[in-house]
């Protein structure tokens, strides 16, 4: 159904605009943003407060609706989709994690991870899907290092553990893109570093496309590409990140140099020092693997 090709960016924003209204005051937060994200890319979005980074993330993931421009997923427009389609996209195509982990307090870690599957399934169908779903959830929680915390409620988990559970939840439906809004903003240095490591591992080992909004320039530096937003627009001026150019467009897979290429596995293994193993948990992470697409 989706025209997947090696050159179609998984996510694309064209001249996206967003204005917020508070009473009589209207603030134009995004003033025409262009962005393309390649499959398997780990992209950071940085910028000052109020520059519109979180807003851009929400618009990309159909959590909010743009006032102008287009958003395309695998080439297909999603910004003008109906409510039902957008709900389904958020349930299956996108995974969100936020600065505040937003786990549902009444549910255990396992149940929190299962929540997107609860949403996707009717009560009648659930008994048939339950076993498989629980297996996947357990595997994911193991993957993020929470195998021993399955039945704990959020109030019994540390900040880092909660964020890891949130990551597992965001991935249970096998999304095409993980959208992370300041994932380490509320964590201390060690916990934050762990999360950063986890995200890099997921991107490297499973090929997960990640778009991360962050204030942390060190974290941004470790990603494939950094996009800076200034006053609601992509900043095309040279960045202060050092020898890393601030690209504004799409880079072909053959672009070499000091950039990580898109065929990344061996190179990323070298950079991160992780074991050169094939993608772990394909039954969990196989993008496009789940039938309920």
């Amino acid at each position: 159904m989706i025209a997947e090709s090696a050159t179609t960016p998984v996510l694309e924003a064209r001249q996206v605009r967003k204005t917020y209204r508070r009473g009589a005051i209207a603030t134009e937060v995004l003033k025409g943003v262009d962005l393309t994200v390649a499959r398997g890319e780990f992209l950071s979005v940085v910028g000052a407060s109020g520059s519109g980074k979180s807003t851009l993330l929400h618009l990309l993931g159909t959590l909010d609706q743009a006032d102008g421009g287009e958003v395309r997923l695998d080439g297909e427009r999603i910004d003008n989709a109906g409510a039902r389609r957008r709900d389904r996209l958020r349930n299956q195509a996108f995974g969100f994690i936020f600065q505040f982990y937003h786990l549902l307090p009444e549910l255990s870690a396992l149940e929190n991870v299962l929540t997107p599957l609860y949403i996707a399934s009717s009560a009648w169908a659930w008994p048939f899907r339950r076993a498989d779903a629980v297996r996947r959830a357990r595997a994911l929680l193991e993957r993020v290092g929470l195998g021993h915390r399955l039945d704990h409620k959020p109030r019994e988990l540390s900040g880092g553990e909660m964020q890891r559970a949130a990551i597992a939840r965001a991935l249970i439906s096998g999304p095409r893109v993980l959208l992370a809004d300041e994932p380490t903003g509320n964590l201390d240095e060690d916990a934050g570093a762990e999360i950063a490591r986890l995200l890099r591992a997921l991107n490297a080992e499973e090929g997960l496309t990640i778009i991360m909004v962050t204030h942390n320039l060190d974290m941004a530096r470790s990603t494939d590409r950094v996009v800076r937003l200034t006053h609601g627009r992509v900043d095309l001026s040279p960045t202060v990140l050092g020898n890393r150019p601030a690209p504004g467009g799409y880079h072909s897979p053959n672009d070499g140099g000091d950039r990580l290429s898109l065929d990344r596995r061996p190179a990323s293994m070298a950079v991160l020092g992780a074991g050169a193993s094939p993608p772990a948990h394909p039954e969990v992470f196989g993008v496009g693997h789940f039938p309920q697409r």
Partner: protein, 468 residues
Amino acid sequence: MYKLVLCWRYLKTRYLALVCVVSVMLGVATLIVVNSVMGGFSAKLRDRLHGLLSDIVLEAYDFDGFADPEGKMRRIMDDPLLAREVVAMSPTLEIFAMLQFQFRDTPVTKPVRLVGIDPPTRSAVGGFSEYLTDPARRDKPGFWMDEAARDRFERQKRPEPLVFTPLGNPDEPPPPEAPKPTPKTTQGAILGYAIAHFRDRQAKAEDGATRDRRTLQPGDEVVLTTVSGAKLAPVYDRFAVVDYFRSEMSEYDSQFIFVPLEHLQKLRSMEGRVTSIQVRLRDYDRAPAVVARLKEIFVRDSLDVQTWEEKQGAVLAAIRVEKGILNILLFLIIAVAGFGILAIFSMIVVEKTRDIGILKSLGASNWGVLQIFIAYGLLLGLVGAALGTLMGLAITVNINEIEHFLARATGQDIFPRDVYYFDRIPTEIQPLAIGLVNLGSVGIAVLFSILPALRAAMLHPVRALRFE
């Protein structure tokens, strides 16, 4: 599936919502208990109103009554519809009268309703022999005197005329139709219980119930004065008390006196005439058809045909109105519970704003979020109604024990047994009423959860996620 999981989980963890459950429970329990007790009282009252009256009464319009009751009864049985539906009939002669007797050498005068009956047929019609206080008379009712009564009567018989004079001006010549005042067979009379007894509130028996004092014993003599048929001339005669009639309806027990029909007819110069025919039906549901048929048959006779309900129309209507108003007022209790739900749900929605944002970011639809909260209201309503029904039924079934306990604990007499004649609080469990109460309370719970649910459904995900 997530709606079910969350709904159930909210029910188990939100203790504040238990307040909603409790208020629905109390409202439902109250309504059920009140409906059952009122139903019981009302059913007993209906029984008693019906008690003395037969299913259908054919009545004369005036004191002179109508002739040939046997012929009329034959005409009734000749009709095929009526022959099927009519089980028993009894002619009676009813008139107002004055009762006079001596109590501790003081003359006592009371206005009464004098009814001449034929005991066998009158019992067949029902509402008579079962109320007689003499057990021997319940199977074979009659005006005979037993040994003890006869002894007493003989001892009291006076050779001279009675000390007091019957009604009428003593200067006037004696009424032309007065019967001879000396020895002949004195007829028996069955007195309403309250005519011959009074409640002595001061005297208490061992079990704490008040005692009844007797003013007239079986065998005592009484004089009944009334008017004759056509000419309305005063007539009187002496009777001996043989038994009492106790229906626990003061209207009857304090006014009615039964005497033999033939004797009363002769006394009133109304031989062969009666004022009413009482009719008992096989199935009271068929009464309208029977009444219509009777009216057709007796259209040229000066007779009124009525069911007992039509005769007692006013009282029954009053009971119905009372019940209706009481139900409406009590339903306000549940409406109050509804406002509680509205308030608490609004609080819960505010509390869960970020959670709702997260659910939407995970792909939950607005409609789905709406369903969660409405289902939550429905669940609270169902649990509250179920518990309330159990509680209401438990109280109803044990109401007498509860009343005893409360009376002992507070020292107050909650259900004074001398006000009502029954010694147990009557209850009648009405499944229809219980069903309606449950339906109504669940409906209110759902109704009052709609507004907060709508608010939750309309929350914008980004704003919800940022909610502090």
